[in-house]
Symmetry: C2
């Protein structure tokens, strides 16, 4: 019926006879510490709200996001999953010409194709760690009469993040809309990379946030967008509907955005494990490990002794699933991505990759 | 931000100093027995799924609805709340001329106004218990070049339901779309009133179902639609998005639709209480009690000694909230509606109405 992203654990479970809990999914990019315990306790204590219509104003949820983002609620759009917001915004802007980056999340291309936008690809340069060249980007925007630039920051699957001071220049000096998907921004230094503050100064900007990865709450379908453009805000808002966010998302969201101890713990855990994994893998000669500001790491098998697909296949019998990145535009079949999971699984993955590639 | 339906319990709670649980909301039309206990147990045991993306095919949920409706899954559209489906379908059909009934649920009019449809009102006749005259309706469809008829069955707030054998004739003999909202159908004799079976024979039909009222699960935002029109099905489906239904709706839905003991218990409780309430109120001379196939009852204060608003105000200090129906088109300020709640609350309401009106 609908296409899926990443690994189909159900199929792998069946084929190899694993228990679903045994499989370590390094392809999903979900924070392994799970959701905020404080928010989960609140959820458990409020299951009887199942029959209650959510507050149509989502007062408490919006207060919580206001505190978290330091942006007032008249700029915050709530959405049932960020995919919905991506889709609404793209169809609203309806760009004749739009720029996407290669490689990046595949959903943007799908949405642009739906409305027959002309897609202009900015191929990121692996020899420059997939960084964005702002001058080149501005040139492309002008030369192609571009009305929308879609940027993931940090980018998936490369892990590269562009600083907000550079973004500010870009957004101010170009007469087109920017959609910045910050699904992974909380794993980075938010003050340095997030464009949320720019929504106060630039009205050609929509920032999109998710709760699926950092907050480990994909099941509740809660995303939000931030824009200082009142007209855009109103138009997107009328495209959504009454009570779009379910009551459990409302309850969890009311709590998890303000659980700062949890935010700190997740950030520190992911970044210390990431550092360990990167420094271990960098010692493997045939492997290029790209720097990452997110909770996942992109690697390239330089000697081409095996493909990412073959590596993935070798890891599956050990109940470890990595992401073969061959399906991403502008990446060869020798690229793979893994995210940070619990310490024990990370160590198991490191050991196996060393054994296979060394 | 968004308009709300029915009572604002939060405001009433503040004004009168009630605890929110003390207030008996006779205006919400929600089954007072609460959600299926079997489904709730499953939910409690699966809270750890909060971080899991829902199955994009919603296999288990669809199997469950297939069994419940006896319709195959290629006719079943899942939606995050039935309001979303109502909105999508109306904007897809984009009718130049559409018929709605007065009185009925106000949301249809709002959606039709959004897209500037010409609304043709069929004013239901109170002297005929708000029944639909099929010949008159067919004439209106033809005379006005109508492309969409929106019908709630049973109707809210009147409680009238039209039999499916009459609907079959209507739908087959008229060259326009019918949207039949069956939010309350489970409180009636489903075999006699539901149009679901007609989707096998008529391709100008969409049936909409909700889980907010009979299943007492408004918080999870789960609705579904049934149509035998493959083209309509596909077009509505592409307007929705990946993972639109949250994981808790998926889990609850997988269980509650097949909990037949629960269905039977709810139906029997509501109908026996309804019978008691109607027969008690019918003894009050100044009150006209309209027959109801739903879980609510419409009444008219014939002697006009007080308005529905005044009656509502008199009941609020007792922590009982009824629906003043003055805001419905084609109803005067002397109409009110109440739904069936628990036995004790129902008896308290009966006693107070008797005291006030006798």
């Amino acid at each position: 019926m609908k296409s899926s992203h990443g690994a189909n654990l159900f199929e792998i479970q069946k084929e190899y006879g694993f228990n679903i809990d045994e499989i370590k999914d390094f392809s999903s990019n979900v924070n392994p510490l799970g959701p905020s315990p404080k928010a989960m306790t609140k959820l458990e204590n409020n299951l009887n709200k199942v029959g209650v219509y959510p507050d149509p104003n989502y007062d408490q949820l919006l207060s919580s996001i206001e505190k978290y983002t330091n942006v007032s609620r008249d700029k915050i759009l709530l959405t049932s999953g960020s995919t919905n917001l991506i889709s609404s915004f793209i169809s609203l802007i309806n760009p004749k010409n739009a720029i996407i980056f290669n490689p990046s999340y595949s959903e943007y291309e799908r949405e642009l194709n739906k409305i027959n936008s002309n897609i202009i690809s900015y191929d990121l340069d692996k020899s420059n760690d997939f960084a964005i060249d702002c001058e080149k980007l501005s040139r492309m925007i002008k030369e192609n009469d571009v009305s929308l630039v879609i940027l993931t920051n940090p980018n998936n699957p490369t892990g590269y993040a562009i600083e907000n001071r550079k973004l500010e220049e870009l957004i101010k000096s170009n007469n087109c809309y920017f959609m910045i998907d910050e699904t992974y921004v909380e794993f980075s230094d938010v003050d340095k990379y997030s464009a949320v503050n720019l929504t106060e100064k630039c009205d050609n900007l929509l920032v999109i946030r998710s709760t699926s990865k950092f907050f480990a709450a994909a099941g509740i379908r809660l995303g939000y967008g931030i824009t200082g453009n009142k007209k855009l805000y109103d138009e997107i808002n009328t495209r959504t509907n009454l009570w779009n966010i379910n009551i459990f998302a409302d309850i969890l969201g009311g709590e998890m955005f303000t659980d700062t101890d949890y935010h700190k713990k997740v950030f520190e855990f992911i970044n210390s494990e990431k550092e360990k994994m990167i420094s271990t893998l960098e010692k493997i000669d045939c492997l290029k490990v790209y720097p990452s500001k997110s909770n996942f790491v992109l690697c390239e098998i330089l000697d081409k002794k095996l493909t990412a697909h073959e590596l993935r296949e070798k890891l599956i019998p050990h109940a470890l699933i990595i992401r073969d990145c061959a399906s991403f535009n502008n990446l060869s079949e020798y690229f793979f991505r893994f995210c940070i999971l619990d310490e024990q699984s990370n160590d198991k993955l490191l050991k196996l990759i060393e054994d296979i590639l060394k």
